[in-house]
C-alpha cells in the first residue's frame, strides 16, 4: 500500500471542545489520545471556554460543585455531595478542585497536562478558534505551541470528511 493510500484509508475523528473546567477537560483528551493510539487521524477544535485547555499553563483549571448535583466525592467509604448553598461560599471551588486533583493523582489517572502532551506527541491536530481569541482578547502567545488557529469553516471542512464527529 502506498503512503497516500494508507492516509486515505485511515479513519478520522473530529472533536469540538467547548468546556474549560478540569473535569470536562478529560473526555476530549482521553478520546483524542486513545483514538490516535488506535491509528485514527484526530482533529480537535477548541472554542469558547474550551480554548482554556490550550493555554500554556493549565494550573488554573478548576471544578465547581455549584449547580452540579451529580458531583460526588468518595470519602471514607461514603459519597459526599455538596448542597448549592455551601458550594456557593467563597473558597469552595478551590476546595473542590484540590479534592479532585488529589483524587486524580491517587487513582493513577493522568493529568490533563500529560494527556495534552501525549496528544501533541501523537500528532493530534489542535485548532484554536480565532473568533474566541478575538472575543476574549487572547493572543497566540497565550497558547501552547504546535497548534493551528482557524474558524468554523476550517472545522466543517474536516468534519465533512470525518468518520466520527463529537461535540463535547
Amino acid at each position: 500500500m502506498s503512503g497516500e493510500d494508507a492516509i486515505a484509508k485511515q479513519k478520522q475523528m473530529t472533536i469540538i471542545v467547548t468546556k474549560g473546567t478540569l473535569d470536562w477537560a478529560y473526555p476530549p483528551f482521553i478520546l483524542a489520545t486513545t483514538a490516535a493510539a488506535m491509528d485514527v487521524n484526530v482533529s480537535m477544535f477548541f472554542t469558547f471556554y474550551g480554548l482554556q485547555l490550550l493555554k500554556k499553563d493549565l494550573g488554573h483549571l478548576r471544578v465547581s460543585a455549584l449547580g452540579n448535583p451529580a458531583m460526588e466525592m468518595p470519602l471514607a467509604g461514603l459519597h459526599l455531595t455538596m448542597p448549592n448553598v455551601a458550594a456557593a461560599l467563597p473558597g469552595m471551588d478551590a476546595l473542590s478542585t484540590t479534592l479532585m486533583r488529589n483524587l486524580i493523582k491517587r487513582k493513577g489517572v493522568a493529568s490533563i497536562e500529560d494527556l495534552r502532551e501525549a496528544a501533541l506527541d501523537s500528532e493530534v491536530e489542535m485548532i484554536g478558534c480565532r473568533m474566541t481569541m478575538d472575543l476574549f482578547e487572547w493572543t497566540a502567545g497565550d497558547l501552547v505551541e504546535g497548534i493551528a488557529i482557524g474558524g468554523a469553516a476550517t472545522y466543517m471542512e474536516k468534519a465533512l470528511k470525518s468518520d466520527i464527529n463529537l461535540f463535547i
Binding site: I30, T33, T34, A37, M38, K107, G108, A110, L115, A118
Partner: protein, 73 residues
Amino acid sequence: MAELDARGLNCPMPILKAKKALKELAAGDTLKVVATDPGSVSDFSAFCRTTGNELVEQSEENGVYTYVIRKST
C-alpha cells in the same frame, strides 16, 4: 521481548504507553505489558482488533493483568 510496566496507571495510559512501546519495535516483535487497571482487559482486546496487532496471550493473577502483543506490519 520488550516489557512495559503500566501498574498503577488508569485508562487511557496503559494503551497510550503500549502504543508508544510498540512504535519502537520491528514487525513480528512482541511486547509484554503488565497492568492493574481492570478495564484494560476489554481495552487491550479492542486495541489489538482495531490496530491489527496480535494479542498473543493474556492472563490475570492477584489483580495483575499480563498481555503479550505481537506487532503487526
